[in-house]
Symmetry: C2
Subunit: 361 residues, 2 copies
Amino acid sequence: MIQTISLQNYTIHIGAIWQQWNALLHSLQPSKIVVLVDENTRKYCLPMFSENTNFEHFFVIEIPSGEQHKNIDTCQIIWSKMMDANVDRKALMVNLGGGVIGDMGGFCASTFKRGIDFVQFPTTLLSQVDASIGGKLGIDFQEVKNSIGVFANPKAVFIEPHFLDTLPAREIRSGFAEIIKHSLIYDAQQWQQIQAITDLQQVDWTHFLVPSLRIKQQIVEADPYEKGLRKALNFGHTVGHAVESYFLQSERPLLHGEAIAIGMISEAYLSYKKLGLAYIELEHISQFLLRIYDEVIIPNIAFSWLIEMMKKDKKNEQDLINFSLIHPIGKVHINQTSHWVEIIESLHFYNELIPQTIITN
Amino acid sequence: MIQTISLQNYTIHIGAIWQQWNALLHSLQPSKIVVLVDENTRKYCLPMFSENTNFEHFFVIEIPSGEQHKNIDTCQIIWSKMMDANVDRKALMVNLGGGVIGDMGGFCASTFKRGIDFVQFPTTLLSQVDASIGGKLGIDFQEVKNSIGVFANPKAVFIEPHFLDTLPAREIRSGFAEIIKHSLIYDAQQWQQIQAITDLQQVDWTHFLVPSLRIKQQIVEADPYEKGLRKALNFGHTVGHAVESYFLQSERPLLHGEAIAIGMISEAYLSYKKLGLAYIELEHISQFLLRIYDEVIIPNIAFSWLIEMMKKDKKNEQDLINFSLIHPIGKVHINQTSHWVEIIESLHFYNELIPQTIITN
């Protein structure tokens, strides 16, 4: 079975994708396929991909997995291998992996010889729900996430649910955060269904993926260049991105969704404080997220660094810190600014929810 | 007096530009202006720019001049300074300089936080005629010119003829090559006028610039993403780019137009050989170009390196070397492939035109 979501410029195929993929290859007739993988997707996904792809000219580029490699140095390695292989402008790049592969591979394709075609094969739940729509491509620069990049659309996105079978539980949880976010900002009814989930291993993700992608579709198509409405998707991400950057340098980096879960608690608190989100709703959100995600303390000494990081975030104009907040659950309000004192209060609120056997700092 | 050329997405202003520039600033209301200069334009152009710009929030980034700095390392310096200055997405980048500043500054703007607005103030004749239209932005990578980049349009282009007054004669000659090219591929009548030029210092460049820009406009608007017709503009550039790259590493680098002049002689020879361009026309082209440009021998030992370079050029699909050739003067033919044996013949033809007191190799 296959489901499709047709966007303005391309289609997302979800399910039994291989026939559609080969049809696209047949119509594009690329001079070569460049497949970007990391050590995990080379092992767990490339065999299935190769077996189901009817095309001869195959060129595989492997990069090390992990957000810490999503930088300009790795781009130079990718471009360099493409140059050495004489990749021409009629080549097609296939990004087979999670968000790092999709964002960086898409950026490298969009800038190689001023842009070659690319397709996305997201292999993690996070990249399936988050990176399939929106055309946001890029890399981290100077510790700021996605600060260098472009907007560009793939020729198509192919979501093969079997890729999720090989994914660690922690990766599934990370992707789940974006599904939770979509329900909190846009779909109170799905939020009810989500709260009923007790065992993540029993979930049929296609069931949540398709409605979640449709929410993102509505928002992105109304605002492709993130001039306004699209900021709705930033709920949990202003604090979340900063938290993610902070822990990226620690011995125990957080996955994106884990950081966003913390960000959603902090920003639900700001929603309570600034917009009057009901305290009981704040409690429901916090309790549900802390049931799913590991309890991670944010050291008080990190607070000022986090605030500086939020100031550098690309959604801010001048020195104001911009948020997308919710009230009630299922309804989002963009362009809500907060003062750093309130943000620090929200971080304290989060920390105090965590049982602290040892007080950090 | 001011002349304007209206393109699909922006306008080129030529002449007394300052009123139009301030009007644009007033309508855009950017949060900040980031002005990219090199040591020359800081000295010769920035004072006039500052004096005529009614805007307070000014941030100047200086990079060293020269094609050898048009690379990813310099981009990282530019991005880094923009990050440190908290440049936000409502900022406007002003590229005040020649082709390197325009190409690289436009690329940095188009990728910073996934793209901020930019305007071009080309200050050399070459960049005024060549970089004002087309949206081709980028940097050199692994010795291949413009191999990393994007297509993106500025908000406007402002051509201030007084900037040319401070330009060395050699830079003027370099820019003249693109005007010559436009006449050879599209305007036999202008080619007659051009041949009558005896003293470059006496020329009113605006007279040639506007028709030349209109030729480029016609070609680019018919083919914005260089899928076909736009290849017409590559006349002289297939050999020329390789020659430019070769001399970039020598002690005596050539300016872009100087390399393109050599490329035009070589490719006029191919036009004679492959398409039947009249030998007398080949002679006129060669003689005129050698009257204007320095006589530079291409060492025979460089030939195989040049051929490899042409193979890597982004306009080639697979291993064929693609040319845009002319026949007769004023009419261009794209997608003409040549064998390396013929290309080497054309390089010998060029070399033999040069009086050789010492035989190199």
